[in-house]
Each structure stands twice: as structure tokens, then as C-alpha cells.
């Protein structure tokens, strides 16, 4: 298990040393959201009604932006080949990547949601529901994202392929996420949690399979 935690710690250390990578994603998230009031117009009621959809779309786009760094560098510099010779099975390596990627991209977005609440004129309750729905739904986006990144790790110009691959798969997450953020009934939140659990449970195995297939 030491290798598992060492891998997560290394991901975090690399990301923070590379200079504000997480901050760039948060900035992107906030700025995409800030575009909507300009596009829709200063109608506070309309904005508040659209807010859950806006927050979720921006979060999805921001999560896609960070996909490329999950495996590409490690594949290019040989780290992935060496990790395959570690004591951990490749599945555990991918699992550690899922956790690290969630901590480095999804968590900062959730922390930034109060800023969005102000921009979109949401009340405290609406903000709480949006943040909670992101907390329940982003693990699913992370699992799908890692899967997409693993599939395209060996492609030389695969930068945009992973987002395009996983975008259709992320649609159910978006639907239930927005429904959960709009609140009222419990069912969408439970569906969201179920999708997250399923994706996170399967993604290490499928991701490892994809990496092995791409290695040859």
C-alpha cells in the first residue's frame, strides 16, 4: 500500500510544483461560468433558474481540460513502463490516478463554487445543492476521464481525443447532476451516487486494460 499512497503524493507534488495547474482549471471554470451572464443578459431570475445547468456544464468542461496530463507525461518519459514493473498491479496504479485526479481537479472546482453562486445570483440553499451534487457526481466524471486518458495515452496527438470519447458517456452524469442540483427529490442524487460508484469501481480495471493494449 505504501506505493499506492506514494503515487498519490507524487501526483499532488508534481501538480503543485508545476505551478498553479489546479488554479488554471479553477480560473477556466469561473470564467466559463462568468460568460453566461454576459450571453444571457442581466436577468437575475433567469440566471438563477439556469444556474445548476451552467455550473454543471462548466464543471464538465473544466474536468475535460485536465485529462491530458493524467497519463501522457508518464507514458512519454517511461514512468508508466516502470510503474508496470512496480509491486502494485497496474489496476492499483490507475486507481491511485483516479483518486489523485479527483483531488487535483474536482475538489478545487467544488471549493470554487461559492464564487459561482455570487456570479449567478444563487441563494445559499441553491449553492449548497450545487456543491453537493458536484461532490456526488464528479467521481463519475473523474473515472470516465481517467478511462479516456488511458485509452489515448499512447496516441501522439491524442490531446483532444479523450474529451471527445468521454463526452457522450458523461451525458447521464450531467442529466442527473443538474436534476440533483435543482433539488426537490432525492432520486437524482442517488442515481448520481450509483453512477459514481460504478464508474470508480470499474475504471481502474478498464483503464489498466486500455494501457496494456496501448503498450504493444
Amino acid at each position: 500500500m505504501t506505493g499506492f499512497f506514494a503515487l498519490i503524493a507524487r501526483e499532488i507534488r508534481l501538480s503543485t510544483r508545476r505551478g498553479g495547474e489546479a488554479l488554471t482549471l479553477v480560473m477556466f471554470f469561473v470564467m466559463v461560468t462568468a460568460l453566461f451572464p454576459f450571453a444571457v443578459g442581466p436577468d437575475r431570475e433567469l440566471l438563477a433558474r439556469l444556474a445548476p445547468g451552467i455550473v454543471w456544464t462548466s464543471a464538465l468542461l473544466a474536468m475535460l481540460l485536465g485529462l491530458d496530463r493524467i497519463f501522457r507525461d508518464d507514458h512519454a518519459d517511461g514512468s508508466l513502463a516502470l510503474l508496470n514493473h512496480g509491486q502494485l498491479p497496474l489496476e492499483a496504479v490507475v486507481g491511485a490516478k483516479v483518486i489523485a485526479h479527483w483531488l487535483l481537479t474536482a475538489l478545487p472546482l467544488i471549493v470554487a463554487t461559492p464564487v459561482l453562486a455570487v456570479l449567478l445570483g444563487m441563494d445559499v440553499e441553491g449553492w449548497g445543492r450545487s456543491a453537493l451534487s458536484l461532490l456526488c457526481g464528479t467521481p463519475a466524471l473523474t473515472g470516465l476521464g481517467v478511462l479516456g486518458a488511458a485509452t489515448t495515452a499512447g496516441l501522439r496527438r491524442g490531446g483532444l481525443v479523450a474529451p471527445i470519447l468521454i463526452l457522450p458517456l458523461a451525458v447521464p452524469v450531467l442529466i442527473f447532476g443538474v436534476a440533483a442540483a435543482e433539488g426537490g427529490i432525492l432520486a437524482p442524487t442517488l442515481f448520481l451516487l450509483a453512477i459514481s460508484l460504478l464508474t470508480c469501481a470499474l475504471s481502474p480495471f478498464l483503464g489498466a486494460l486500455a494501457l496494456r493494449a496501448g503498450d504493444d
Binding site: 506505493g3 503515487l7 508534481l14 512519454a76 517511461g78 516502470l82 510503474l83 509491486q87
Partner: protein, 215 residues
């Protein structure tokens, strides 16, 4: 180079037997009908011109490629163990992250590959003593190669797969690699080494394999 005295540690006895091994890359058959056996303490020295399949042979042994024909059998390991976890791989892709310090790099790979000697000891051994606080991105190509070699020391493993281990190293580095290899073999390890340069390994039990030009 400081005089290090490796502990009389014994590695698990492992044998490797290859029979009728063949590899294809794309359309070309690189080699075929390759037979060799390696016992503890033996070094397989793979030579041959560029493109002869030296790296491919190492990747076959590493399990990253499947052979076109023939078999590779590991003896002396558990049925359900992954052979990959017994091997160290050293290639031109050194997997060095420029923003990690040398000691962080070694601590990470030790956590991944298994416990062993202290990182400072290993850095001394490869001639990087006292640089543990430095970011790896500031190292020269030869020094990066030395850091990659230090990873082999911090996690003792019975099989070393070395692809051009002396590339980018100076004369003193060549001698250091030879000394590391001699120690490894002395502890009962196996090594497969693809190289152009003659390694100064006197008294070592060397199996030579020369790959011809691809057909």
C-alpha cells in the same frame, strides 16, 4: 567514487530459459530461433548493430511484448507472482520528473518497487552523493542516467534489464556500471544487458548473444 561495500545479501535464485524465441516488429522478422538460459549470477550480454532487436528482446523479457514464436520460462518464482515485479528496467526513457528532487525520486521508486538500502547510500554509490536536495531537472544527461541506476540499488531485485546502461556516461561512469553489475551478479542476480561498448567485467559469468542484421 566512495568505496561502498555491498552487504552479502542474497537474491532469490531465479532462472530464465528462452527457447526458439522470435520477434517481429511490423513487417520485419527481427530474430528467430533464439535459445539461451540464464542461471543466478549470469549476465546475458546482447550485442548487435542498430535495429538488430536488442531492445525488442529486452521488452520481450520484460513482458511488454509477446513473442512471435517460442517460449520464455521463469523458474524459481511463485506460480501467481508477476515476473514484472522481479525486474528492474533501465532504458533511455529514464522516467525522471524534472521538478522532483533526487531524494524524492528515489523515495518514490523505493515505495513503488520495494524496500532496500538507504537513498543516500545509493546516491553515493552512483557518484551523486551530496546532491539529494537538487531538482532532477538540473542534472545532466549522464547524471540522470546515474540517478536511474540508483533506483536499481534502493530496491534490490533479482533481474536487471539494462538497455545501453552506459549511454551518456563518462569513463568513470562505465566503471561504476561494471562494478554495480558485478555486485548484482555476485549476489546471485541475473542481468540482461544490451550494449555496444565492451563492459569491463572480469571474472563475471557472461553469456554472449550476438544478434545479426534483421532480415
Amino acid at each position: 567514487m566512495p568505496n561502498a561495500h555491498p552487504k552479502p545479501l542474497q537474491l532469490p535464485p531465479i532462472r530464465l530459459a528462452a527457447a526458439g524465441l522470435a520477434a517481429r516488429r511490423g513487417e520485419r522478422l527481427l530474430f528467430s530461433g533464439l535459445d539461451f538460459t540464464l542461471a543466478p549470477g549470469q549476465l546475458l550480454l546482447i550485442t548487435g548493430p542498430n535495429g538488430a532487436g536488442k531492445t525488442t528482446l529486452l521488452r520481450l523479457v520484460a513482458g511488454a511484448l509477446t513473442p512471435e514464436d517460442g517460449t520464455l520460462v521463469w523458474q524459481g518464482i511463485d506460480e501467481d507472482a508477476r515476473p514484472q515485479a522481479l525486474m528492474h528496467l533501465l532504458s533511455h526513457r529514464t522516467a525522471i520528473k524534472p521538478r522532483l528532487t533526487l531524494s524524492e525520486d528515489l523515495a518514490f521508486w523505493q515505495a513503488v518497487n520495494g524496500p532496500g538500502p538507504d537513498a543516500f547510500e545509493a546516491l553515493d554509490r552512483v557518484g551523486l552523493g551530496g546532491l539529494d536536495w537538487l531538482e532532477a531537472g538540473l542534472l545532466s544527461a549522464g547524471q540522470q542516467r546515474r540517478l536511474a541506476l540508483a533506483r536499481l540499488i534502493v530496491s534490490p531485485r533479482p533481474v536487471w534489464l539494462l538497455d545501453e546502461p552506459t549511454a551518456a556516461l563518462d569513463a568513470e561512469g562505465d566503471a561504476m556500471v561494471a562494478a554495480l553489475l558485478a555486485d548484482h551478479l555476485g549476489q546471485g542476480g541475473l542481468a540482461l544487458c544490451a550494449t555496444h561498448l565492451p563492459l569491463a567485467l572480469e571474472g563475471a559469468d557472461i553469456v554472449r548473444l550476438r544478434l545479426g542484421a534483421p532480415r
